[in-house]
Each structure stands twice: as C-alpha cells, then as structure tokens.
C-alpha cells in the first residue's frame, strides 16, 4: 500500500519534472534576444557568430536541442553557462547550499514562532491574547516576504543598525570551510565567531521568509488544537489534573499536528520560491540571486539548470511530506 503510493508519486514526480523541463526550454527559446550576439564584441564576423552558435548547439532545431540537453541532464551534464563560462551543475551546487541554509533556518523559525503562538493562542482561547495573536498573524500573512524584507531593512539596517543588510558573510573574514554550508559547518567546527557573523547576515532575510509561513502555521495549528481540546481524551487528561499547557503539549499537539504538517510541506516550497527575490533584496549570494542575474544576462543553460533544480527541490519536498503523512496517519498506515 505504502510502496504503491510511493511508486505512483515517484512516477508523477518524473512527469512533472519532464513538464517543467519542456516548459522552461520552450519559453526561453521563444525569447527574441540572441544570447550569442551579447557574448561577442561589436564587429564580430558572421563566421564567429556561426561558430559560437554551433559550439553551444544553438544551430539545431528546438526539438533536437531539447533532447541533446535532456540526455545531458540525465547524465548529470547541464551544459556550460554562457555568461560565466563554467559548468552549470558546478555553479548550481556552489550556490544551492546558501539557499538551503537560508530556507531551513527560516523554516525552523516559522515552526518555532507559529507553534508557540498557536499553543499560546489555544491556551488563552477567547481572551485578548488570542485576539492579539489573530491580528498579528493576519498581518504577517497578508504582507508578502518581499515587503517584510524591506520593513526589516529599514528597522534593523537603518533605524537600529544591528544587522547587516547585504551579503552572506563579512568579506574580510577568513573562511576555513570545506563545504558551502557555511552556517552549519561553522556550528560543527565550533567557530561561533563565524556563526554569529553569518547569522547577522542571514537573520533578516530568514525572518522575512519565515513570517508569512509562521502565520499560516499559527492559524491552522491553533484551529486544530481548539478542535482537539474539546475531545473526550483531552477532557480526561484535564480531569486527571494536568495543567492546560501540559494538556496541550502532551495530549492535543500530536493529534492536531497532522493537518498542519501537510500544509507546511506545500508552504515550504512557497518559502523556497520566495528566496529568489529575498536573496536579491539582501544581496545574499544564493541560487535565487544567481537566477535573476542569469535571466538578465540571457544565460539559457544556467536558467534551465537553476529552474530544474528548484523544481526538483519542490517535488522532492512534496514527496517527503506525502510519505511522512502516510507514515504518521494511522488510517493510511493500516489501510
């Protein structure tokens, strides 16, 4: 049952990825601008242009180009970036860790903030505290990450300048890292001076990304908690003498968390999508920032590679969440 579900999901995942590859391939090849013309200095001969077109395979038909590219992708060869003249996969792997760190830190913040306010709101249901949480989460949800980023830049970059508003790490620092996961590696190496510097750069973009998700978690989890809190087994726990907080944390939370989990999965992909503009806003050297540069430079192989990696990330997250849901949901587990 579970295996079958997994295989079906895996198949639809591949179809989706193939669809993404087709769409992005077609879209960028309808583009009127000629990427080759942009690479050459003025005065290049037609011969030069033709040679370069052949080098990047742009002299073949779109269908041919697609299958040449696809067969490369299957072998792990995403082609060469036109603007940076480097291997696309290498460039992507170089930047992806920065984006993943940012997204994971934002996710942890969102779960912590959303979870805390949900439990607090459920415990204080019907009071001014709950009303306050509702208003705050309503505002956090309605204002998108792009605007939160700007608000944070103004508040903590200019008004009270305690955080850095651009970059990933202070450029003058000596970095001993062997991976691109600077933040996680600094923790493992116990180099907390570097952790602090990285955090000072990462905190504001992460909060901007986390706030809308925290609001969704808070609203949905609070709703489920309030529903569960009226059920018999919870009432029983209360009769046994547990405090309201204990009742929520020990009894109600594990049953109320399941609907939230599914939603967090989908919303996490939205959060990762948001990194594109938030990284731009904070000049954070991640994949999204590179993607925007790639579009501006009409770097076709790089755009294709980045979009496909994002899509792969999204469908993988959905797959993992779906599987976790199936494992945790007793009805599906035994069904």
């Amino acid at each position: 049952m579970l295996l079958q579900r997994f295989l079906i999901r895996l198949l639809t995942m591949l179809i989706t990825l193939f669809g993404v590859a087709v769409v992005v391939f077609v879209v960028i090849r309808v583009a009127p601008g000629d990427p080759i013309a942009m690479m050459l200095p003025p005065g290049a001969t037609d011969d030069d242009i033709a040679r370069l077109r052949a080098l990047y395979g742009l002299d073949k038909t779109i269908v041919q180009q697609f299958f040449i590219w696809l067969s490369g992708v299957v072998r792990g060869d995403f082609g060469t970036s036109i603007s940076l003249r480097q291997d696309v996969l290498g460039l992507v792997f170089n930047r992806l860790p920065a984006t993943l760190e940012l997204a994971i830190v934002a996710l942890i913040m969102a779960v912590a903030l959303g979870g805390t306010t949900a439990v607090l709101g459920a415990r204080e249901r019907g009071t001014a505290v709950e009303a306050g949480i509702d208003i705050a989460s309503g505002a956090a949800l309605s204002i998108p990450d792009f605007l939160w980023g700007l608000v944070l830049i103004l508040l903590f970059g200019v008004l009270v300048p305690i955080f850095d508003i651009s970059g990933r790490v202070s450029p003058q620092l000596d970095l001993p890292f062997v991976t691109q996961f600077y933040f996680f590696e600094s923790l493992l190496r116990l180099r907390f001076d570097l952790t602090w510097d990285l955090l000072k750069h990462m905190l504001m973009p992460a909060v901007a990304l986390a706030l809308p998700l925290a609001a969704i978690i808070s609203q949905l989890l609070k709703q489920s908690l309030k529903e569960v809190l009226d059920l018999d087994y919870v009432v029983l726990a209360r009769v046994k003498g547990f405090s309201e907080t204990q009742v929520i944390l020990r009894e109600a939370l594990k049953n109320a968390a399941l609907p939230t989990l599914t939603l967090v999965g989908v919303q996490f992909t939205f959060l990762i999508g948001g990194t594109v503009i938030v990284e731009r806003l904070f000049s954070y050297e991640g994949l999204g920032n590179m993607a925007i540069d790639a579009v501006i430079n009409r770097d076709l192989p790089l755009i294709q590679g980045i979009v496909l990696v994002f899509a792969l990330l999204f469908v993988l997250i959905n797959l993992v969440v779906d599987m976790m849901y199936a494992l945790l949901n007793p009805r599906l587990r035994h069904g």
């Binding site: 639809t12 993404v20 879209v27 309503g138 204002i143 501006i296 994002f310």
Partner: protein, 280 residues
C-alpha cells in the same frame, strides 16, 4: 446574519475600501492631483526631506529622490501602473483559471487529469523566477507584465474552483438539472458557475493584491515597464540604494504598497467570510 458576516463589515473593511478608493482616484486623476511633474529632475532639489523635517521645500510634500524628482507625484503616477496591472492581470488570471477549474472539477475524468497535471507542473516553478523569466522573454512593458502575471497565477483560481466545482457537481440540484434534461455545459454554466462565483470574487480581490506585489518586484529588478514612468517597485529600488542618505524614498512607497496589499486582502477575506456557507 451572524457574527462572522457582520464582522466582515467592520471599520477595518471601511478603512481598506477608503484607502483603495483614495489611491485609485489619485491614480486616475494623477495629472490634476500630483503637485509636481513626476519626471522633472532638478539637481538643486535632490534628496529633499519630507515637509515636516528641516531643509524641506514647500510643494514637495514627501521630499524628493536622488535626482530631485518629487516623491509624492511619483507615487501617485506609479499608482496608475499598479492599478492597471492589478485589475488586468487579476481578471485575466481569473478567466483562464476559473474556466479550467470549472471544466476540471465538473467534468472530471481526462479533462481533470490533464488540467491537474499542468497545474502540478506550474506549481513546481518558483513563481517570482518564472515571472522574471517571462518578462525577460516577452520584453519589458505593461502588457508583458500583465501577461506574465496571468500566465503564472491562473493556477490559484484553477485549484480552488476545481475543488468547489467538484463538490457542487455531486449535489442533488445538479442531478435534478440533468434529469430535467439540461445539457452538461448548460448545467455547468447555469447551475455550477453561479455557486462558485463568491469564491471567484474573493480570490479576485486577493489576486489584485498579489499582482501589485509582483509588479513591484518586477520593477524592483528593473524588468517591469522600461521607460522612466514611475512605478512603486522602481521607486523602492531607488530607495533601497539611497537608504542611508534618504530613507523617505523607501519608506513612503513601502507604506503605500503595504496599505494597498492589506486592503485587497481584507476585502478578499471579508468576501470569503461573507459567502462561505460554513461561516454563514
């Protein structure tokens, strides 16, 4: 009417409506309302602070940017682009998405499978990157921005309307209409559609807010409309650069955007609460 519906007509909703009306009227009558020419540069007047601070010049209410252009006038003219994009893009996304959602939800079967697969593919794109890519491909300009937003955001309508139409098509009244001899398309348009219109209207309001943001993001990365026409996102991009010299160039467009987005979403939420059968 119960509590939920009445709460929908709260002061918050009046404030939201008031702000949108004010911003819309200012945008429509921009040439009459704006105190200065939004494009006029004057290096003698660069980075003037807002009127209530030292060093301000009368007539430049919210100050000027680094080229000496009047900020208030640029915001008012920028509203024109914002509202045109909001209405046009949201309506276009709504037409495409609702139609496909209705077809998928009501007919089910192959139509549903194909449409749902396309939605899955669309959901696997990071939306902002997709928008930037589309505008880069379509070429900068107002119609490209509108088209790009519609191409990306139709799925928002499609997913919701599909689910609703699916629910409606299982209702007794649909069966009755079939027994009464109506054709399937007739039932879809005459019976199912009116029942999903409330959701469509609520989504439309939310989508207008989203379109305003996407336009701002596109002009922030300098890919919206290409000319010197002021846009909210363009002003924000300038403000981000001169943040330490002239904070007002970032603060005022940011407040404008936040108020506009909050107002659209307040409307959407209120409409949803008003029409939601569970809350009603």
């Amino acid at each position: 009417m119960d509590r939920a519906s009445r709460r929908g007509l709260s002061p918050r909703l009046w404030l939201a409506g008031g702000w949108l009306l004010l911003a819309l009227l200012a945008a429509i009558f921009a040439p009459l309302v704006a105190p200065q020419d939004p494009l006029a540069q004057d290096l003698m007047l660069e980075r003037l602070p807002p009127l209530w601070l030292d060093g301000a010049e009368p007539g430049y209410w919210l100050g000027t940017d680094s080229l000496g252009r009047d900020l208030l006038s640029r915001l008012i003219f920028g509203g024109r682009i914002a509202f045109i994009v909001a209405f046009a893009a949201a309506i276009a996304a709504c037409l495409v998405g609702s139609t496909l959602g209705l077809i998928a939800g009501y007919f089910g079967g192959w139509a549903d499978r194909i449409i749902s697969r396309i939605v899955d593919i669309w959901m696997a794109f990071p939306p902002v990157l997709f928008a930037i890519l589309l505008v880069a491909v379509l070429g900068t300009g107002l119609s490209s921005v509108i088209l790009a937003i519609a191409i990306i955001d139709w799925t928002r309508f499609c997913r919701v309307i599909r689910a609703e139409a699916m629910g409606q098509s299982r209702m007794d009244y649909v069966e009755n209409a079939r027994i009464a001899g109506y054709g399937r398309i007739g039932i879809m348009l005459r019976e199912v559609l009116p029942n999903v219109v409330p959701s469509i209207v609520a989504l439309l309001s939310l989508e207008m807010g989203i379109a305003v943001i996407v336009e701002a993001i596109l002009s922030f990365v300098n890919l919206s409309i290409s000319t010197d026409d002021p846009t909210w996102g363009g002003i924000i991009a300038e403000g981000r650069l001169s943040i330490h010299q002239a904070w007002w160039v970032l603060v005022f467009p940011l407040i404008t955007l936040i108020l506009t987005v909050l107002s659209f979403s307040q409307f959407g939420e209120a409409l949803k609460a008003r029409f939601d059968p569970v809350l009603r």
